[in-house]
């Protein structure tokens, strides 16, 4: 058994920031990550990081934009904290040497981004995430923070009180991908899940293959509820063949969207008369698909994004990476031709419910980054708000887990924060699978940390042994079934019938999953085994997304429903929550907090 004060699972932006914070606080901290830190998906972020840095801008403007962007489904305490802390975090990155793009006077550049009332997006070319990730990894190296890289975390070690809010997290279990060795990790202060996105639940996504929602599923099965899972962001500009992202920076710099009639669709079809291409992502994604569905798409599939008029110099200075992506993955020269784009799954606004200090309702279990839902992005994340999120809330989770005294959280977590019971009957009973690993770890009163961890390790060993030894089907088929049905039925446009079909398909896939087996018997670098476990996690998150989407009978932010074409504030300014109850998701709601530090946010219509 390994022992540290704080264990951070995942070493992308959120994990690294949390680890550095915990280290600053004097804790002995370790990063456990299935990819080497520099391989994390934060490295793929292109566009930039929002922070109110300039005179004329201010944190409350940033907060206001974020609340409005969230379509009033964000929690004000989270949003205020975020907007206040972001500038210092960004300048700290600058102090750590991050190569930001610069103005003539040597200050960091800022550019306009969708949904922002001020050009407050700092960036480093069109490869901001790469620089952020590497800069933070460098700082982790500088501090000598221990990294267990290529270790896959399969579960957390949590005591088994009936009430999840009485549970405690003492550590986690991981196996060393290189050797197959399964070990317990004891965390005296806390375990921080920072495992990133879940894009692999869909088959057209900007996300990496490793983004399989592991942290969400692990926390959920341990008893921490998932929040607002239906809120999936579809990015309007991804390359049709691969899902590779064309940064919002292209539109920020003045890129234009055209349909097959060479019309500037955002204006000419009136999708966003004020903001045009710079309207929020949900608006643009719907506009594009509407065009395609109306027969005005190119090849019946996509639209064109044109940046030629920006001129070679500006493109190379600020968007060079885009030229490479369009060339490498679509064979298009962005200096000479418009680029083909269509919407693709991009970001999970929902995730593990946690408070402003990153803590879930389980003592000692934290979540940060895309895995988490402090409730900052609500129904729609503004471009450039995810990277500062992982800085601000990654840091706070790190400090808190390491024992810093923090202001008491205003956002309540756990089923006790509930306002009303959910009223959606899932049309099919969501079957549970491989029950052995989903129970929490200790027996009754046994709360001695070591034994909790040992029990969890034993269970995980058994689960993995079974997968390796039995015969059965390949997980790849199950995964493909889930991805297909999610893309067909739980996409930008959603209908009740489709959602029910998706639930049924997921249920079917769960059944199938009971027969999966790993055919590679090796203990050395067994990717077949990793992917098989990941697929199980994908099932849980896909089901949560679909259930949430079915429950929310309104149109808010990224969540569009054919039957409900209006935002229904009286009824729906509330979070959809899902708690794991013995394998059956329990749906309930929790109020949105609109009361901020300085003012209470009044829901306004989002018009662009």
């Amino acid at each position: 058994m390994y022992e540290h004060d704080v264990i951070v699972v995942g070493a992308g932006g959120a994990g690294l920031r949390a680890a550095i914070a915990a280290h600053e606080e004097g804790a002995d901290v370790a990063l456990v990550t299935k990819l080497h830190p520099v391989r994390s998906h934060t490295g793929a972020a292109e566009g930039g990081i929002n922070a109110a840095l300039q005179e004329g801008d201010s944190w409350d403007l940033h907060a206001y934009d974020t609340m409005k962007g969230s379509d009033y489904l964000g929690d004000a305490p989270a949003i205020d904290t975020f907007a206040k802390d972001a500038p210092e975090e960004v300048i700290q990155l600058e102090h750590w040497g991050m190569p930001f793009s610069r103005e003539e006077d040597g200050r960091v550049s800022q550019r306009p981004f969708g949904g922002l009332s001020y050009p407050r997006t700092t960036y480093a070319g069109a490869e901001t995430g790469h620089h952020l990730l590497h800069t933070m990894y460098e700082q982790a190296v500088k501090r000598g923070i221990e990294v267990y890289d290529e270790w896959y975390v399969t579960n957390v070690a949590v005591t088994d009180h009936d009430d999840p809010e009485k549970r405690e997290c003492h550590g986690c279990v991981a196996y060393d991908i290189k050797s197959g060795k399964i070990e317990g990790f004891r965390a005296n202060g806390g375990v921080i899940l920072a495992t990133g996105g879940l894009g692999q639940a869909f088959d057209h996504t900007t996300n990496a293959v490793a983004n399989t929602g592991d942290g969400c599923a692990i926390a959920y099965r341990a008893g921490a509820p998932m929040e607002d899972m239906e809120m999936i962001q579809f990015h309007p500009t991804t390359l049709p063949s691969t899902g590779v992202l064309i940064s919002e920076g292209v539109r920020g710099e003045g890129g234009i969207l055209y349909n097959d009639n060479e019309e500037r669709l955002m204006y000419e079809y009136g999708y966003a008369n004020n903001d045009g291409e710079l309207a929020s992502r949900d608006v643009v994604a719907r506009a594009e698909l509407t065009e395609v569905n109306a027969g005005r798409g190119i090849d019946d599939e996509y639209v064109h994004l044109d940046m030629r008029h920006l001129g070679e110099e500006r493109i190379i200075d600020r968007l060079e990476n885009i030229l490479h992506l369009a060339e490498d993955f679509e064979g298009v020269d962005g200096l000479d031709e418009p680029m083909p784009v269509k919407p693709g799954q991009h970001y999970a606004m929902g995730g593990v419910e946690c408070d402003e200090n990153g803590e879930t309702c389980i003592d000692g279990l934290y979540a940060a980054g895309e895995t988490a839902c402090v409730s900052l992005h609500g129904a729609n994340r503004l471009g450039g708000n995810a990277l500062p999120e992982l800085l601000v809330f990654g840091a706070r989770a790190g400090y808190h887990a390491a024992g810093r005294d923090m202001k008491t959280a205003e956002i309540q977590t756990g089923p006790s924060a509930e306002s009303e019971a959910g009223d959606v009957e899932p049309p099919v009973e969501p079957g549970a699978i491989d029950r052995g690993s989903e129970d929490v770890a200790a027996d009754g009163a046994a709360v001695e940390p070591t034994s909790v961890i040992e029990n969890t390790v034993a269970r995980e060993r058994e689960r993995i042994e079974t997968l390796l030894e039995r015969d059965g089907i390949n997980h790849a088929e199950v995964r493909a079934d889930v991805q297909e049905t999610m893309t067909d039925n739980v996409n930008v446009f959603r209908q009740e019938e489709g959602l029910k079909t998706a639930l049924r398909d997921i249920r079917e896939a769960r059944k199938e999953y009971q027969n999966v087996a790993v055919s590679d018997p090796s203990r050395t670098y067994n990717t077949d085994l990793i992917h098989t476990i990941e697929t199980r996690n994908l099932l849980d998150v896909a089901e949560a997304i679909t259930l949430g989407a079915l429950a929310r009978e309104e149109f808010r932010g990224a969540h569009w429903r054919a039957e409900f074409q209006e935002r229904r504030d009286e009824e729906w300014i509330k979070h959809t929550m899902l708690a794991w109850e013995d394998g059956t998701p329990r749906l309930y709601y929790k109020p949105v907090i609109l009361e901020g530090d300085e003012e209470t946010y009044e829901p306004k219509e989002r018009s662009y």
Partner: protein, 294 residues
Amino acid sequence: MSTQIEKQETETEEQESEPAVESPGEKRREQKRQRQAEREAQRETEEATLDDEETVTLKVFRYDPEVEGKQEPRFDDFRVPFHKGMTVLDALIYARDRYDSSLTFRHSCRQAVCGSDALFVNGRQRLGCKTQLSDLDGPVRIEPLPHQEVVKDLVVDMEHFYEQMHAVEPYFDADEVPEGDLEEQRQSRENREKVKMSTRCIWCGACMSSCNIAAGDNEYLGPAAINKAYRFAMDEREGENRKQERLRIIEQEHGVWRCQTQFSCTEVCPKDIPLTEHIQELKRESVKNNLKFW
């Protein structure tokens, strides 16, 4: 037709001949199996009718120290249906998901930023996700990066690479940081331009693997690590003192002076970093620096 496809056919037949069981779950599974078999059969007819232009044959290096029959390195052939825009990584994923789930390689971002799928393809270091199959002559030979220890199939041990990267103290370390929390260190546009290319490294290890010197001298820092040193030594924000220390690190016996300007690293770098140029520039800097001291 490749051996993998033949093997699958026999497996499908075996599955079909299993007796059907009555429980509803079993029934559904049975139906699914049938559907699967149908799909499989359809796929195979499709594949059988493909002419050579529509398939690509991969010759993939296989090795697993643990599994009997794989301890002796060998090459496996996979025949994969080709579509426009298909990359080497796409083909490997296809082969793994359809033919042999034990086929092992690293990959994640599929967009040339995570650096995990550097491979030796048709005799050259390349990122699998960035390499179009249509640019290669078939059969496409895929091997792990040379000069690195093979863990399994296409996965190499990266430890040595990481150690060399860490040896140059790869972190920003300014002599002075501005006082205020919100006060930036100014950097001129020219200086950012100067270090820009060097900051693009994704730690893929292709350069190191292509370098003859690194192959012969295990302690040689290698192009990636020296480039990393360049990234900081040339950053005006770090200050003169730190720069001196950085130059001392790269001047050591197994540092910049080992480089014989063969340009192989520069040729293979998927991020177009002018590695050889950066190494040369550091050599010049270090000469200047030493002259100053004498």
